[in-house]
Amino acid sequence: MAQDNLTAVLHKPLDLRLEQTEIPQINDDEVLLRMDCVGICGSDVHYWQHGSCGHFVLKKPMIMGHEASGVVAKIGSKVRNLQVGDRVAIEPGVPCRYCEFCKSGRYHLCPDILFCATPPVHGNLARYYKHAADFCYKLPDHVTMEEGALLEPLSVGIHACKRGGVGAGDVVLVLGAGPIGLVTMLAAKAMGASKILITDILESRLETAKKLGAHHTIHVTKDANEADLVKLVHEKLGGHPDVSIDASGVQSTVRLALLATKSGGVAVLVGMGNPELTLPLAGAMAREVDIRGIFRYVNMLVWINEMNLVSKIIYLD
């Protein structure tokens, strides 16, 4: 094995350096991975530009990268699920396994979770990286390493749809056609949504969305009137959406989710924007529209081994 472990380290905002770091020593339940592909997401950019993202603040140099795939180079003595040479997707958050959240199936809410490239935990944008073996998933032969890396943001989309209870026949509104809006749309389709309307302020994003299977799109202009937008959504969908998923975080789309969703439905708010929002909450509460946020995802990537939902979504590409 080469000794070269070129690593991308963020020292402070706008100060990203390629450095050599030590090749990690694995524990008996871990694997050493020869990294292959690492995606970049909005949160990475935020750390790079601002040195923080939400509550998390960069205080010392941190290795970037959390959307990744690699090849198993070494396995610990207790590892049973993987062999050297296996191509894997890496679930970047390893929880404590002991707390009440871990024990009730919501390990993503574990207060002590170690999540790649969320300070102070190092990420995996390096030549070599070690990880808990049970949070690495063998990729089916037909799934590429790039697709393997993209399973991480895809998981966010699937979790959002699960939190919304998206099921067969549902009508879904997705607000925002950025990467998260798109993976949410792909997940909704694979989960059986019958009609998906996606909105954005950029026409080009909507073109991509259409290619990826959006049934309807709305290009929202700067001066759009809120009530008219709600009406337009209902007209295009031929009714009210059962689930609305906001993937933008701006106040206007969050408001739209609360106003447009069918009574008794769910508004999933994924996008992160201003901490303070002015919202028509009372109306949503009186119509029993549930408001559910998401934090990352949970119990998603383990599906890969069964070649089901994720494989389906990849073929939709």
């Binding site: 008794g264 509460m285 559910r292």
Partner: protein, 348 residues
């Protein structure tokens, strides 16, 4: 039969007692001689301002939606009631055919024919007719006044059902008005371990303690949201699994997003202003769900059963009594906030 007198709201603060025809029943309806009708916060809002939440009243309306009485006539197709039966009146007659009715959520029906809303008369009158299946037999050991007061209890039960209260959970209830207190009593009956209730009025907290809450916090005007949150967490000793907003104030909604345990639930049953400014991400990023509860849903049977078994004590909850002709005084008392539950006695 005597004449039918009804309390009719003509405009803000303008209540008149009027004579109206006795209703004629259809074959699936019963005619009820009304005994008791409770009045509530939403009645008060409509009385004072003509509006409450999403509702507004634009023409004269018989008020009253917390009614109980005796069946004096049954339609030809009525199976479950006989003349003489004492009934609690669930104040709705939804359409039964829309997707909400068929999906088991008739409280969301777009044509619910809810008592004392525009075009739908309430039951603060001597004679009132209603469909059979939205009348509920009052158990023998439950009084007519309790039979009327089960309506807000049924609202609290629906709210607690929506909140997902389970044995051993810890709760914070913001607002110790009738709904907050009924939610506390319901939550206890459902097995909640520790309940902390807040209010801005000290006397309400004293009543709440008598009715079973474990901790109370008086909210002073000068407290910031953070101070309220800190005091709640300190007093309760832990973050609540569920926080119930039973007052509709933005400050309560804000605090609920700060104190509720990660993965928990905020239940909004209080009727708030149309728009609020809230730190939503504090709830969203911890997957704290924000759930609304609207009116009631299939909760009358549980309410009557809980009162009958003693699991919930409504006798202490009812605090004031008026006759029908003194309805206006009843509303004036309601305005002071001193009454927990006022019952209007129509006939006894």
């Amino acid at each position: 039969m005597a004449e039918n007198c009804a309390v009719v709201l003509h405009g803000p603060n303008d209540l008149r007692i009027e004579k109206l025809p006795i209703p004629t029943i259809n074959n699936n309806e019963v005619l009820i001689k009304v005994s008791c009708v409770g009045i509530c916060g939403s009645d008060l809002k409509i009385y004072s301002t003509g509006r409450c939440g999403q509702e507004s009243v634009t023409e004269p309306l018989i008020i009253g939606h917390e009614g109980s009485g005796t069946v004096i006539e049954v339609g030809s197709a009525v199976k479950n009631f006989r003349v003489g039966d004492r009934v609690a009146i669930e104040p709705t007659q939804p359409c039964r055919s829309c997707e909400f009715c068929r999906g088991g959520r008739y409280n969301l029906c777009e044509n619910p024919h809810y008592c004392a809303t525009t075009g739908v008369s309430g039951n603060l009158c001597t004679y009132y007719k209603h469909v059979e299946d939205f009348c509920h037999k009052i158990p023998n050991n439950v009084s007519m006044e309790e039979g009327a007061a089960v309506q807000p209890l049924a609202i609290a039960i629906h709210a607690c059902n929506r909140a997902g209260i389970k044995l051993g959970m810890n709760l914070v209830i913001l607002g110790a008005g009738p709904i907050g207190v009924l939610c506390a009593m319901t939550a206890k009956a459902m097995g909640a371990a520790n309940i902390l209730i807040t209010d801005i009025v000290e006397s309400r907290l004293k009543t709440a303690v008598k009715l079973g809450v474990d901790y109370t916090l008086l909210i002073k005007k000068e407290y910031t949201d953070q101070q309220v949150a800190d005091k709640i967490l300190e007093l309760l000793g832990t973050a609540p699994n569920i926080t119930i907003d039973a007052c509709g104030f933005a400050s309560a909604q804000r605090v609920s997003m700060m104190i509720t345990r990660t993965g928990g639930t905020i239940l909004v049953v209080g009727i708030g202003a149309e728009t609020v400014e809230i730190p939503l991400s504090r709830a969203l990023l911890r997957e704290v769900n924000i759930i609304g509860a609207y009116r009631l849903l299939n909760s009358y049977p549980a309410a009557l059963s809980a009162v009958s078994s003693g699991a919930i004590d409504l006798k202490s909850f009812i605090t004031h009594h008026f006759t029908m002709k003194d309805t206006k005084s009843a509303f004036e008392l309601a305005k002071t906030g001193e009454a927990m539950k006022i019952i209007i006695h129509v006939s006894d």
